[in-house]
């Protein structure tokens, strides 16, 4: 007879440190490359910016050593590299648009990054155990849905680029949907841990697919209506797909029933088709998607066509940083940052970035497998799936796999709300992975305490 046991996990913090240094080095290399290609000199702020970025990542690394010793050692280096590459590309678009570094988007993005890292570190320090979040299941649910629908409010909600997903408070604008992603994942995880037994009861069997009982369809119908209302009233296919997909994926993880995926895809397909027939703005999106190069589509927006042309100009190894023209595409630093990378780093570089995303999601799912409580499993799976789905929506949008929608590429795109939300998401994943990889308390040590003689202490 044999036993199967996990090898005692090493904390991996030293591996993480080496990889973080490598990631910052690659970002520095990209920055030097950009400076040499555009001005012919090593950029003057290299030391200050590089040391600043290094300091921020090392600070987070130290927080991990202090508060989450056994957290996954690969998440932070990957995110450091992605965030840094995003900064370099945003700076590159700044240069092309003739913006100085002082008033460019890149410096703002750097400040947002520092703030996001600070908030993520605070989450790690304050949130000692992810299971605490389960207490706030319904609070998170209410918060998530209200954040999602907040932009529909008359005064603070604003419409930008045809989507009503922004709120504006004085000088600040914010995309509440990004935060809603996290609180909805918390809500779905807490809710599904309670109800998964009922939801996985088998009902009728049709065509080899075991369907759930009809009375259990309530939650998925509510999630479907909410996502359709986002699609119709906020005119945002991306958020709508993200939230419904998140729910369906977590439902599948919780119940192991493929039928939920079939039902979810069917419902979303039907809803999207009805929306296509009924609403003009959805029809425009589909026209831009299917007939990108037709005259009617080019009159409305040539953004997607330009992005595709840019990627084609990049070819296999790209034009090199600073040598392409990604700035020709509108929003080259946020929604179309993937095309910008495709142009300047080529297929080889773009695929390195996509593999980094895949590895990030893999680590999240591995955390979900390794953790021992059901809530943590569902939450980690949901959070990493939301990252994966967001990447799919963004990359699929710019490569014409699905209609283009305004979602940000996690950690890459310019945008404060996206950075804050995704770094917070990362902090929660790190916290769960710390629990997943932490060795169980030593049983012999515990019993030694139990067997110790009781001693009478005289207090005078």
């Amino acid at each position: 007879m044999s036993t199967v046991s996990s090898v005692a996990p090493r904390s991996g913090r030293t591996t993480e440190l080496v990889l973080v240094l490598g990631a910052v080095g690659i970002v520095g290399l990209a920055y030097v490359n950009l400076g040499l290609a555009t001005t012919g000199t090593v950029p003057p702020g290299l030391a200050a910016l590089g040391l600043g970025y290094l300091g921020v990542s090392l600070a987070f690394h130290v927080v991990l050593r202090w508060r989450a010793k056994y957290a996954d050692p690969l998440l932070l280096p990957i995110v450091t590299l992605l965030n840094g590459l995003g900064l370099v590309m945003i700076h590159r678009v700044d240069i092309a648009r003739g913006r100085d570094i002082a008033d460019g988007v890149a410096l703002r993005q750097l400040m947002w990054s520092a703030l996001a890292v600070a908030i993520a570190a605070a989450v790690l320090v304050v949130l000692r155990d992810h299971r605490i979040l389960r207490r706030y299941t319904y609070v998170a649910g209410v918060a998530g849905f209200s954040l999602l629908l907040l932009p529909l409010l008359p005064v603070i909600g604003t419409s930008e680029f045809g989507s009503r997903i922004w709120i504006r408070l004085g000088p600040f604008s914010f995309q509440p949907g990004e935060i809603a992603k996290i609180s909805l994942a918390v809500f779905f995880a807490g809710y599904l841990v309670q109800t998964r037994d009922a939801l996985s009861v088998a009902g009728r069997k049709i065509l080899g697919l075991t369907l759930p009982r009809a009375r259990d369809l309530g939650p998925i119908l509510i999630a479907w209506l909410a996502s359709l209302s986002v699609l119709v009233f906020e005119r945002d296919l991306g958020s709508s797909l993200l939230f419904f997909g998140l729910f369906v994926a977590m439902l599948y993880v919780a119940t192991e029933r493929v039928s939920w995926i079939a039902i979810g895809l069917g419902l979303f397909g039907a809803g999207a088709y009805v929306a296509y027939l009924a609403f003009a703005h959805v029809q425009v999106r589909v026209l831009l998607w299917l007939h990108t190069f037709s005259p009617e589509a080019l009159q409305t927006s040539d953004q997607l066509a330009k992005g595709l042309m840019g990627m084609a100009a990049g070819g296999m190894v790209g034009t090199g940083l600073g040598r392409g023209r990604p700035d020709l595409t509108y929003l080259a630093e946020s929604d179309f940052i993937i095309s910008s990378f495709g142009e300047e780093l080529g297929l080889v570089g773009l695929f390195a970035i996509l593999v980094l995303y895949a590895l990030l999601v893999e680590r999240g799912l591995r955390t979900s497998l390794g953790t021992r409580d059901g809530f943590g499993k569902l939450l980690a799976a949901g959070l990493s799936f939301s990252l994966a789905l967001q990447c799919f929506v963004v990359v699929g949008g710019v490569t014409r796999v699905i209609p283009l929608t305004g979602l940000t590429a996690p950690f890459l795109s310019s945008g404060g709300s996206s950075l804050l939300a995704n770094w917070t998401l990362l902090a929660i994943l790190l916290r769960i992975s710390d629990h997943a990889r932490r060795p169980l308390p030593d049983e012999s040590a515990q019993s030694a305490v139990g067997e110790a003689r009781t001693e009478v202490v005289k207090l005078s």
């Binding site: 044999s2 199967v4 090898v7 005692a8 690969l74 090199g320 040598r323 590895l359 049983e443 012999s444």
Partner: protein, 166 residues
């Protein structure tokens, strides 16, 4: 102005560095594939999840509880788990399909908690049927009460045949 050559080297170097990073990450997470280890169940199970990190490959040789006389181990001689051995423990060895058993049988004809082998008061090994559905056979007779098993006598549970060996 820098030569084009430097720039080309730099931009290709960036791509190489990116992929080198990816492979470094993949190299680290290879640990997931080899993250579990299978080893013989020893007489004393090490504290779960906290084995000695310095020597992960070290196999612990089971120390026989009774060195001189009597059987020391249980061997599956036929059935799905044929070839499996485990040391006998004086506290009792539970056999059945339930995961709590020391010998978990993958046998449709075995009950959850099927039988128990334990050390009797006088140091003899006894086998006891735990009111299983299909019964435990010692040789050709179905057990109705705890009986002594000697080394070499054949026990049958469902499709599995067991033997006590020295």
């Amino acid at each position: 102005m820098l030569s084009e050559l430097t720039l080309t080297v730099l931009r290709l170097g960036l791509l190489v560095a990116l992929w080198a990073f990816v492979f470094a990450v993949v190299g680290v997470l290879r640990g997931d594939l080899y993250g579990t280890r299978v080893r013989k169940r020893a007489g004393t199970t090490p504290a779960k999840g906290n084995p000695a990190p310095r020597a992960p490959r070290r196999e612990r040789t089971p120390r026989p509880p009774k060195a001189s006389k009597g059987p020391t181990r249980l061997v599956v001689t036929a059935g799905p788990l044929s070839g499996t051995t485990l040391p006998l423990r004086s506290s009792g060895t539970l056999i059945g399909r339930s995961p709590e058993c020391a010998l978990v049988l993958d046998d449709d004809y075995a009950s959850g908690r099927h039988a128990r082998i334990f050390e009797g008061d006088d140091g003899r090994w006894m086998v006891e049927d735990l009111r299983s559905t299909n019964g435990t056979y010692l040789g050709a007779t179905r057990l109705t009460e705890p009986r002594e098993v000697a080394a070499g006598s054949v026990l049958r549970i469902g499709q599995t045949t067991l033997e006590l060996q020295r």
